[in-house]
C-alpha cells in the first residue's frame, strides 16, 4: 500500500512542469476561444433564426389569400410599424409605446407576484414543517391551483369592489400555488442533520427559518418562484381586462374591441419575449443564490 502511495505522489508531481508550457500559448488559446465562442453563439442563434424565418414564410403564404381571417406578417409589419419600431413613444395618456405598457404591467406583476412569493414561502414553510397542516391543506392547494386566472375575476371583483386590488389579487392567486407547493417539498426534504444542528444550537423558530430552512430549501423555492412568475405573467391579460388603463394586457383587450389584429400580434410578441426574460431572470437569480446549496 505504501508503494502505491509513493507512485501516486510521483504521478501527481509530474503535471507541474507542463503547466509553464501552457502559459506560453495563452495568446493563441484566447484566439481559439474567441472562434469557439463565436461558433457556440452561431450554433445557438442560427437554428432558431431559420425556424422563425420558415414560420413567417408559412404564415405569409397561409394568410395571403383575400379571404384569410388573420393578417399575414407583411400586413402586420405595415400596419403596426409604429408599435414595432418605436417602443418608447409617448403621445399622451392613452397613446404610448408598447415598452411603456409592458413596464406598467411588469409593475403590477411585481406587486402581485411579490406578495405571492412572500405569502407562498411562509405558507409553504408551514405546510412543510407540520404533518397535519400538510394533510389538511395539500388537497385544497392541489385543487385550487388548477383554477384558471379568468375564473378568479368575478369573485375577486365581488370581494374587493375595486378593479386595481382585484387585478393584483388575480395575479397573486394565480402564481402562489407553485411557490407554496415547492417550498413545502423543499422544507420536508431538509436533512435531519441540519435540524439536529439547529436543535443543539437551540435556534428559535425565526432563526431556524432564516438560517436553515430558507437556504436549505432555496433550490425548491426558486423552482416554485420560476413557475410562479410564469403564471403571474400569464394572468396579466385577465387582470388588466378588469383594470383598463395602459397595461399591455389591456392593450390586447382594447385592440380586439377595435379590431386591430396586427397590434394584437405585436403585443403578443412583446408579452412572449418579456415572459421569457422574466423566467430567465428568476432562473439566474436562483442559480446565483443557491450556488452553495446544491453542491454537497
Amino acid at each position: 500500500m505504501s508503494i502505491q502511495a509513493i507512485e501516486d505522489t510521483k504521478v501527481k508531481a509530474f503535471p507541474a512542469k507542463p503547466a509553464e508550457v501552457v502559459a506560453f500559448t495563452a495568446k493563441t488559446r484566447r484566439r481559439i476561444d474567441l472562434v469557439s465562442i463565436a461558433g457556440k453563439v452561431a450554433s445557438a442563434l442560427v437554428p432558431p433564426a431559420i425556424v422563425i424565418a420558415l414560420l413567417l414564410v408559412v404564415w405569409q403564404v397561409a394568410c395571403s389569400s383575400p379571404t384569410a381571417s388573420l393578417p399575414p406578417p407583411s400586413q402586420v409589419w405595415n400596419e403596426a410599424y409604429d408599435l414595432i419600431a418605436h417602443p418608447f413613444f409617448d403621445n399622451g395618456p392613452q397613446d404610448i409605446g408598447l415598452a411603456w405598457r409592458v413596464l406598467i404591467s411588469l409593475q403590477r406583476v411585481a406587486i402581485g407576484f411579490g406578495m405571492a412569493a412572500v405569502v407562498g414561502v411562509a405558507l409553504g414553510a408551514l405546510v412543510g414543517q407540520s404533518v397535519w397542516a400538510m394533510r389538511g391543506l395539500d388537497p385544497v392547494f392541489q385543487i385550487l391551483r388548477t383554477v384558471p386566472p379568468l375564473a378568479w375575476l368575478p369573485l375577486s371583483l365581488a370581494a374587493f369592489r375595486d378593479s386595481n386590488p382585484s387585478a393584483l389579487f388575480v395575479i397573486f392567486i394565480t402564481s402562489i400555488w407553485p411557490v407554496i407547493i415547492n417550498t413545502a417539498v423543499g422544507v420536508r426534504n431538509i436533512p435531519q442533520d441540519y435540524r439536529n444542528v439547529a436543535r443543539i444550537l437551540r435556534l428559535n423558530q425565526l432563526e431556524f427559518f432564516v438560517k436553515i430552512m430558507v437556504p436549505a430549501a432555496a433550490p425548491y423555492i426558486f423552482t416554485g418562484l420560476r413557475i410562479g412568475i410564469g403564471l403571474s405573467w400569464l394572468a396579466i391579460v385577465a387582470a388588466e381586462m378588469l383594470t383598463g388603463g395602459v397595461g399591455i394586457g389591456f392593450f390586447i383587450w382594447d385592440a380586439w374591441n377595435s379590431s386591430r389584429l396586427p397590434d394584437i400580434i405585436v403585443a403578443l410578441a412583446y408579452i412572449g419575449v418579456t415572459g421569457f426574460c422574466l423566467d430567465r431572470l428568476v432562473a439566474a437569480v436562483g442559480a446565483f443564490v443557491t450556488r452553495g446549496t446544491t453542491a454537497k
Partner: protein, 265 residues
C-alpha cells in the same frame, strides 16, 4: 473524582404502530470530568441511539441523564455533537459555519472581535484556519470532519459527543484525525464520549471503553479501563503489551462472548 455525567438507569424503546421494540435497557454509566470514553458495539446495538439520548436529540423512555447533577432532556450546546457525516451547512463557508454556532452561544457574552478570535482559535486547533473562506463542498472529507470538530469545540461544551466521527474516512485520514483528537483532548481536557466500531481506535483514544451487548434491549456488557500513559503514540503502542491486552479484551468481548448474529435483527 466525582461524577460529571451520569446515565441513570436509562431505558429506550421505540413504538411503531402497535409494536414496541426495546432498544436499550438499564444503561448505567458514570463519566468523570476530562475523561475520554468510547462506546463500542456491533452495528444495530443502539450505541448511536445512546449518544442521541445523551445529546437530547431523542427522548428517553425511562431513567435520566444527569450533567453536573442536573437532569438534561433536551439538546443544547453544552453537549456538542460531531456528526458522522459532518453536517456542515453547505451554503455557508467554513468560517460562517462556526460563526453560526459561536454567535448563538456567545452572542451576548463575547464582543464581535472576541468572537472572531475565538472562531479562528478553534480553526487553528484543528489546523483549518487556512480554509476559513472555503465552502464545505470545496474541501475534503477529512477537512470537513475537522471543521465539524471545530464547530463543536467552539460551543465550549461540557461534554463533546463524537458519533462515529471517522467512520466515513479512509484509513490514513482517520489516523491523522485520531491524532488531532488526542492532541485536542490533551490540550483542552474536554470530557468526550465517542461512538465507534473500530477496536484499535477505541483502545488508542480512550481512558475507558464501554462495550455494548447486542440488541434488542442492549445494555452495557463490560467497561474496560485502558491504563496507557498519555501522550500516546500509535507506533510505539503497536507493540505495547498493555495496548495489545486491551485490544484482545475488546476483541474477545465482541467476537467470542457477544458475537454479532445478523439473523437476530
Amino acid at each position: 473524582m466525582t461524577a460529571y455525567l451520569k446515565l441513570d438507569h436509562i431505558d429506550k424503546s421505540f413504538a411503531r404502530g402497535g409494536q414496541v421494540s426495546e432498544v436499550l435497557r438499564d444503561i448505567r454509566l458514570t463519566i468523570h470530568k476530562g475523561e475520554f470514553v468510547s462506546i463500542i458495539g456491533h452495528s444495530g446495538c443502539g450505541k448511536s441511539t445512546l449518544l442521541n439520548l445523551i445529546a437530547g436529540l431523542t427522548k428517553i423512555s425511562a431513567g435520566a441523564v444527569l450533567l453536573e447533577d442536573k437532569e438534561v432532556d433536551s439538546p443544547g450546546p453544552e453537549r456538542a455533537v460531531v456528526f458522522q457525516n459532518h453536517s456542515l451547512l453547505p451554503w455557508l463557508t467554513v468560517y460562517e459555519n462556526i460563526n453560526l454556532a459561536v454567535s448563538k452561544v456567545f452572542g451576548r457574552s463575547k464582543s464581535k472581535a472576541e468572537r472572531h478570535d475565538w472562531i479562528m482559535r478553534n480553526l487553528d486547533l484543528v489546523q483549518m484556519a487556512h480554509a476559513s473562506d472555503k465552502r464545505p463542498a470545496e474541501i475534503s472529507g477529512g477537512m470537513k470532519q475537522r471543521v465539524g470538530i471545530a464547530r463543536a469545540l467552539a460551543m465550549e461544551p461540557k461534554i463533546l459527543l463524537l458519533d462515529e466521527p471517522f467512520g466515513a474516512l479512509d484509513a490514513l485520514t482517520r489516523a491523522h484525525l485520531q491524532d488531532a483528537v488526542m492532541d485536542i483532548h490533551s490540550r483542552l481536557g474536554s470530557t468526550t464520549i465517542m461512538i465507534t466500531h473500530d477496536v484499535d481506535e477505541a483502545v488508542l483514544l480512550s481512558d475507558r471503553i464501554v462495550m455494548m451487548t447486542n440488541g434488542p434491549a442492549a445494555t452495557i456488557g463490560e467497561v474496560l479501563p485502558v491504563p496507557l500513559a498519555r501522550p500516546r503514540r500509535r507506533i510505539e503502542l503497536a507493540s505495547d503489551r498493555t495496548f495489545l491486552r486491551c485490544r484482545e479484551a475488546v476483541l474477545k468481548f465482541l467476537y467470542e462472548r457477544h458475537r454479532f448474529v445478523e439473523a437476530a435483527e
